[in-house]
């Protein structure tokens, strides 16, 4: 009888639409989409501009922003994350003007409050080809 496999931490199932984003993250760049026509910046990756439906370019974010809201996850949906609780799950408003859902990491994270400045850091996952854009408090 096969042994039950331990649950694995979730990884992205990379597709045609978000592949550039994940390639960017692996190279230490946080990429956003920008409309070729109207210039609107948007996140998460889509196939057309949410305002004018034109085609999109990729731009590199400065990777800075502020904490919009956060929660401390005690019961992760995927039990593989249980060893990491509480997980500081956050919404960041990037300086480019988009909300991004992510995770706050680093030693100072317990002090977080709404409005705190943050900067992106890239965390290695258990897949050597995939890094996750996370955030640390800037100061």
């Amino acid at each position: 009888m096969a042994e039950a496999r331990a649950p694995q931490k979730s990884l992205p199932k990379i597709n045609k639409v978000d592949q550039p984003y994940w390639e960017g993250a692996a190279a230490g760049k946080l990429l956003l989409q920008k409309c070729k026509s109207c210039g609107k910046v948007q996140f998460f990756p889509r196939v057309a501009c949410v305002d004018c439906f034109s085609e999109l370019d990729w731009i590199e974010s400065k990777g800075t922003g502020k904490v919009h809201t956060f929660t401390l996850v005690r019961v992760p949906r995927n039990p593989a994350f249980k060893e990491e609780v509480p997980i500081y799950y956050i919404n960041v408003i990037l300086d480019e003007g988009v909300i991004m859902e992510s995770r706050l990491v680093g030693d100072a994270k317990e002090k977080v409050k709404l409005g705190d400045r943050v900067k992106v850091v890239f965390q290695q996952t258990h897949d050597p080809n995939i890094k996750l854009p996370c955030f640390e408090l800037a100061n």
Binding site: R77, Y89, E101, S102
Partner: protein
């Protein structure tokens, strides 16, 4: 739009269970059977079927076949928690157009694990949410609640009052899975799940189903002496979707409310059945619907008695928080409870003056914003 010729003629419910593994098809059948019993309709008179569920099978023609229903109209009302109200709207459209004269709408859930094709919810957005170890809907609503508390000074006690009032309503509802009184201390001391969301902010997943029967006015008068009229209804999906800095504490219910209350007056509503996946979601909808200003939900809750005996009865049977959330039957529970109230059949938790009810549905907690689907309807006894 103001409806003129469509009536609710009956409803059906199953027992709720935290353990049952009976198939979801069995639950549909049990809820529909209950409704047929109440209405005296024969199965062959059902000309339309809608299903709302998160579990397989979720193809409406397949379900109709399995239930042995020959129908002229089928629908998969796949709108998350909006499915109850939004399915009612679709069925009412079909009835007004004359496509059908009687439709049954069911929502249900079961823990039947024998079917391996249970769908992943789209809002889990594996690539951009799950990878961070988020806590599902509990976390997404926690983000919203923290913002509401910080921006408007809303307190845990104000949010907790909603859960406690609903529990009070559930004490005499035999369908409710939770019928023990809840105190403020119980609420505040309940286990933290995803700060500031506590255990008693969360619904209990369970098996069960709810059924609603709609008919044309002409048919309604032959089926029941207690037809409940659909007065007006509205919905919006993906409010603020193109806004990269959306207001997380305002749902599409704001737009829905403006549409609804261009047809009816706030003071003419006797009770509200508000989709309650979380107490904070109830408070935000009270604001969005215009019962008070944005951000004043806490003060509104302080100033009102939310029980079925009170001056602003909310979720009079206990809502999903105290009855249990049988998956997407949750969106139907509110429609059915409103029907019980308006027909005077809510034994033990009957609102004294129950002539007109507002029912809402919300669903699809989404990336960066809040709710994907928001809908509401008003029904009345004439």
């Amino acid at each position: 739009m103001r409806r003129k010729k469509v009536c609710f003629v009956g409803y059906g419910s199953t027992e709720y269970s935290r353990k049952s593994e009976a198939s979801v098809l069995w639950y549909y059948a049990d809820a529909i059977r209950d409704a047929l019993r109440q209405t005296g309709l024969h199965k062959k008179e059902i000309r339309g079927l809608s299903i709302t569920t998160q579990v397989s099978p979720d193809y409406s023609p397949h379900v109709a076949e399995q239930l042995g229903l020959e129908v002229d109209w089928v629908l998969n009302g796949d709108y998350g928690g909006g499915g109850g109200v939004m399915s009612v709207r679709r069925a009412a459209d079909a009835i007004e157009c004359g496509h059908i004269d009687v439709a049954v709408l069911v929502g249900g859930n079961s823990f039947d694990r024998s079917n391996p094709t249970q769908r992943q919810l789209e809002y889990q957005r594996g690539n951009f949410v799950d990878v961070y170890g988020y806590g599902g809907p509990n976390s997404l609503m926690a983000l919203i609640q923290r913002l509401h508390m910080t921006q408007y000074g809303t307190t845990l006690e104000q949010i907790g009052k909603i859960a406690i009032a609903q529990r009070d309503n559930a004490l005499n509802n035999p369908q409710a899975l939770f019928r023990e009184p809840m105190s403020m201390q119980d609420y505040l001391n309940s286990r933290m799940i995803s700060d500031p969301i506590r255990l008693f902010d969360c619904v209990m997943p369970c098996s069960g189903a709810e059924c609603v029967v709609l008919a044309s006015e002409e048919r309604a008068k032959k089926i029941t002496d207690k037809p409940i009229y659909l007065v007006t209804d509205a919905e919006i999906s993906h409010y603020q979707v193109a806004n990269m800095l959306p207001d997380k504490t305002t749902f599409g219910m704001k737009v829905v409310g403006e549409r609804i209350f261009s047809e009816v007056k706030h003071q003419d509503i006797n009770l509200v059945e508000i989709y309650d996946d979380y107490p904070i979601a109830v408070m935000i909808q009270i604001e969005d619907l215009g019962f008070c200003k944005k951000g004043d939900g806490g003060k509104f809750v302080d100033a009102h008695d939310l029980t079925y005996r009170g001056n602003f009865p909310v979720n009079t049977g206990g809502g999903e928080l105290s009855v249990g959330q049988a998956g997407l039957a949750g969106g139907f529970l509110h429609v059915v409870e409103a029907l019980r109230q308006l027909r005077g059949e809510a034994d033990g938790h009957q609102v004294k003056k129950a002539e007109r009810a507002l029912v809402t549905g919300i669903g699809w907690l989404n990336y960066g914003r809040n709710l994907g689907t928001t809908a509401a309807l008003v029904m009345e006894r004439r």
